[in-house]
């Protein structure tokens, strides 16, 4: 049964009469004969009608697709790699959800507070609230689909400590939590297909995975430019190079991040900012692209594995950071806003692991931006390790068998790739690009993208949830919570669609000819060379510490790169040709590089994943500002948009004294200055009371 025929009654409205046959019916209007003469591949577009097309098969994409299918929508999952290989598999530490299994004091309010603090209050408060409230159900749901998390003594899902989380909160499976998640979601899709095989006689009647398929353009039903609704997504199948036009009224972007814009990154090859760029090109706004997370601990040696992640669980489970002098330096890097919650001596910090209710947290468990800057600073000050990192020591902190049980992948990774036995010696680690907080602007409840009807986004490609810095563990829960909401949002949107949008031939043909260009051009530049240079420039000039002159240099470089990108050529044919794929991905990488650079230049403060040497302070005025990138012609333009304000009941979850550290006076008008809120995490409060002088200083 061909895809065009399968269960077409599940498809809203008509399936696009005349468009459902295979082959390109469009070029006929625009001079097909000429096209065929020039181009031997004309007429090779498979046209596949769906209700919902989910671009991306990681955690958020699969969760969105499952939800859309459960709501009766015929769903395609587009996977740039094989099914089950998405970058989510690399997540190690865990999935944050306030289930309270290990510490019963935990609840959504505490998780919400931690998330807002971690993001330095730039988060979309509604997203942070939904996330904190819904994460436990999403984790339990995985368990009902077969996931096997590590257990507590009483048989519940175990939870571990992580940076910025007040209580042990991360559901985990050793240090391979992402793999467990993706496999569970993958197997849930398979289970649904088995049920569909019984019901419809075809496992792919209602949900189908298109593996090794890349989307290069979103198509809208209006004329080119900003008008119109989503009508589908155009792309190619990697194995044959054949083109495909997924015709669907709703597209969910779940493409992950932008790591391959940078040289040293923990991200996999797929992370070329595809969804960010697709959205931008379709007229959608990207917000706060300056906020890029540099995770503090990655392998720095040997060079070929530089950027390989060393999970934060090492620190959650007791690991400490030391410099070349053997000093546990994180005590020197506790910022004022967090001083009340973090220990001041090694003794207190060490007591916390056994008695968290009466001691403050070790500073190694500060949010990632703080630790990354500290590590960076120690190396710059000449106190680094032999290979330019710092020392992460778990060997002296836990017995060998315990390390092997809790951190098996880390043991394996260091043993195999660096000849280092982490049960005997410290690891050498340093910061690397890990995550982007910025992304496609979305409605918190429905994941709908403003201004582009039919477009939804979830997971790393979306923005707002994490503010200026994401807490470890909040990504896996984000994927589940907002992946599901995107699937719901898309399904609800479809229920309101009466006539299916048509794919304009002229747009289809434009998308098609753009993709062919690098193959048709002879003697152009090698895309790999250009990619390496872009990564080098971004890492050198818009890395963890930024300044105006360097960002301006980067912008000038990006301009030159964009010119060179017009002249790429990829020898070889269309079947599985990585040089061609790289040439196509570079368009996205360059657009994203420009968004990051422009936003980084504009925001004159330091906050979370954006540190300006020339503007080192965090500014309450800037906290109220979201920076929005959009496309004007082929240029990125920036505008400022107010950050959604916290509701009074959300504000009431914090002590006013804490809000004062982030907000302007007028934002606090009307709040009861002396009334303590219910923000009463035990250790923080105790610490506050025992150190009144410190608190007074913070207020000053």
């Amino acid at each position: 049964m061909s895809d065009a025929e399968v269960n077409s009654d599940a498809v809203v409205g008509n399936t696009g009469a005349g468009n459902t046959g295979a082959g390109n019916t469009g070029a006929g209007n625009t001079g097909a004969d000429d096209m065929e003469a020039v181009n031997p591949w004309a007429g090779d577009v498979d046209r596949l009608p769906y209700d919902v097309v989910v671009v991306g098969a990681g955690g958020s994409g699969l969760r969105a697709a499952i939800e859309a299918r459960q709501r009766g929508k015929r769903t395609a999952i587009i996977s740039k790699s094989l099914f089950g290989k998405a970058h989510t598999v690399m997540a190690e530490g865990g999935c944050a959800a306030a289930m309270g299994n290990v510490n019963p004091h935990d609840n959504w309010q505490v998780h919400f507070r931690d998330t807002m603090r971690g993001g330095k209050f730039l988060n979309n408060p509604r997203m942070a609230e939904l996330h904190a409230k819904e994460a436990p159900d999403r984790v339990w749901e995985l368990e009902a689909w077969g996931a096997l998390f590590d257990r507590t003594k009483d048989g519940k899902i175990s939870q571990r400590n992580f940076g910025g989380h007040t209580y042990p909160r991360l559901a985990h499976v050793g240090d391979r939590t992402g793999l467990e998640m993706i496999r569970t979601l993958q197997q849930k899709v398979v289970a649904m297909q088995q049920a569909d095989a019984v019901e419809f006689g075809d496992p792919e009647a209602m949900i189908k995975v298109y593996a090794e398929t890349t989307i290069t353009e979103l198509i809208k039903d209006g004329s080119a430019g900003n008008g119109g609704r989503i009508a589908g997504a155009f792309g190619y199948f990697r194995d044959t190079g054949r083109f495909v036009m997924f015709e669907a009224p709703a597209v969910v972007l779940a493409t992950g991040g932008i790591g391959k814009t940078f040289k040293i990154s923990s991200n996999s090859w797929e992370y070329t900012g595809d969804g960010h760029a697709l959205a931008l090109l379709a007229g959608a706004p990207l917000m706060n692209m300056e906020f890029v997370q540099f995770h503090p601990t990655h392998m720095v040696w040997p060079p070929s594995v530089a950027g390989l992640l060393v999970t934060e669980s090492v620190r959650g489970d007791g690991g400490v950071l030391r410099n070349s002098e053997g000093k546990r330096y994180m005590f020197n890097y506790v910022p004022d806003v967090f001083r009340a919650q973090y220990a001041e001596t090694e003794e207190e910090a060490d007591r916390w692991y056994a008695d968290p209710d009466n001691n403050r947290r070790p500073p190694e468990l500060l949010p990632r931006d703080e630790v990354a800057r500290a590590n960076n600073n120690e190396v710059k000050a000449g106190r680094g390790s032999p290979h330019g990192g710092v020392f992460l020591d778990i060997a002296s902190r836990l017995p060998a068998e315990e390390i092997l049980r809790r951190l098996p992948s880390m043991y394996h990774q260091f043993k195999e790739l660096a000849d280092v036995d982490i049960t005997k010696e410290p690891m050498e680690v340093g910061p690397a690009q890990h995550y982007v907080m910025g992304g496609v602007e979305v409605d918190p409840d429905t994941a709908a993208v403003p201004g582009v009807p039919g477009l939804f986004a979830a997971g790393e490609v979306s923005g707002g949830m994490h503010g200026s810095n994401r807490l470890g563990g909040n990504s896996l829960s984000d994927l589940l919570v907002f992946g599901r909401r995107a699937g719901m949002g898309a399904a609800d949107y479809l229920d309101g669609v009466t006539a299916r949008p048509a794919v304009p031939d002229v747009q289809l043909e434009a998308a098609r000819s753009e993709v062919l260009r690098p193959l048709e051009r002879a003697d152009g530049e090698n895309p790999y060379t250009l990619h390496h240079e872009i990564q080098q420039t971004m890492s050198d000039l818009i890395g963890i510490i930024r300044r105006e002159s360097e960002i301006k240099t980067a912008l000038a470089e990006i301009d030159k790169f964009r010119e060179r990108a017009e002249n790429l050529s990829s020898p070889g044919g269309r079947a599985y040709n990585p040089g061609w794929h790289m040439a196509l991905d570079l368009r996205n990488i360059l657009l994203i590089a420009e968004c990051v650079a422009q936003s980084a230049l504009e925001r004159q403060e330091s906050r979370g994943g954006h540190t300006r040497d020339d503007y080192p302070e965090m500014s309450p005025e800037w906290r109220k500002v979201n920076l929005i990138c959009s496309l004007d012609g082929d240029r990125v333009v920036l505008r400022r948009q107010p950050l959604p304000a916290m509701r009074p009941d959300q504000l009431a979850l914090f002590d006013v004294s804490e809000l004062k550290k982030y907000m302007t006076d007028e934002e606090l008008v009307g709040l009861d200055q002396d009334q303590p809120s219910e923000a009463s995490e035990a250790p923080a409060r105790k610490a506050d009371e025992s150190a009144p002088a410190k608190k007074a200083e913070d207020r000053a």
Partner: protein
């Protein structure tokens, strides 16, 4: 330390192909995938390689290096002498798409035939209770990154492609064992493991275990215990009697879904 390494890389497609010689720079600490990437970036931009995480976590870059099935990202160059020629070929069991990339859809088809996790319908969300000691066994199998090196190596299909239909291969027999040992699963897959997925074809030569990059003890911990369970069921007198009377499978044996 930087040196030139001699590579013989299989280039071609489903139609035909051959080994092509290259000289590529290699540096201290690199893995085979680094060298292949350098080859791609400098001499053969259309060299097809499947890879993703370059961290041994996704199981994409499976290939055969000097005849041994390996992940290219976890094979350090230092395990070879600098003057050794590396012969790099695609996984042999699966059809070639291009160069080092094979069509592994066989595995996804097998995955879809295995009856899925079947919890008790009465357990509410958040109310599963399992002890760590009881989840340990299935957790070991869930470390699988689906690199399919075991499937590629198992002689039951590597040397006899006609066995592809009756035999699911070590990865998916292990999946059955994983569900069988899952504390919250209620279905009984012992009978279909033998009858529909070909557990009996496995003659425990442990080749799968030997190539597993996750060091999962596939044979010892999954396949042999599964064989014991199958036999235990088969020779249970009550089960035997029941099968003679009703000539049907027991009520908790799931149907094998027809997902072809």
């Amino acid at each position: 330390m930087s040196y030139k390494v001699a590579l013989r890389v299989w280039r071609g497609d489903a139609g035909a192909g051959d080994l092509t010689d290259y000289q590529v720079e290699a540096n201290e600490g690199e893995v085979v995938l680094d060298v292949l990437h350098r080859l791609q970036a400098t001499q053969a931009s259309d060299l097809a390689i499947r890879w993703n995480c370059k961290a041994g976590k996704c199981g994409s870059c499976s290939m055969e290096i000097n005849g041994r099935p390996r992940l290219a990202c976890m094979t350090r160059m230092s395990v070879f002498a600098p003057d050794e020629t590396l012969t790099i070929t695609p996984m042999r069991t699966f059809p070639v798409i291009r160069d080092l990339v094979t069509d592994v859809s066989f595995n996804y088809a097998k995955a879809r035939e295995i009856p899925s996790f079947t919890p008790s319908p009465t357990v509410k969300l958040g109310e599963f209770r399992m002890q760590q000691v009881d989840v340990n066994r299935s957790q070991e199998f869930r470390k699988c990154i689906e690199c399919f090196l075991c499937q590629n190596t198992c002689h039951v299909i590597r040397d006899h492609s006609d066995n592809e239909k009756p035999f699911a291969g070590p990865r998916f027999l292990m999946r059955i064992a994983e569900l069988e040992m899952h504390p919250a699963d209620t279905a009984d897959r012992r009978e279909i493991a033998q009858d529909d997925f070909g557990l009996g074809y496995c003659n425990i030569t442990k080749c799968c275990t030997e190539v597993c990059p996750e060091n999962i003890k596939i044979t010892d911990n999954a396949l042999i215990p599964m064989k014991e369970r199958v036999v235990g069921r088969k020779y249970d007198p009550l089960v035997w009697l029941g099968s003679k009377i009703t000539r049907r499978r027991s009520h908790d044996t799931p149907e094998v879904p027809n997902t072809a």
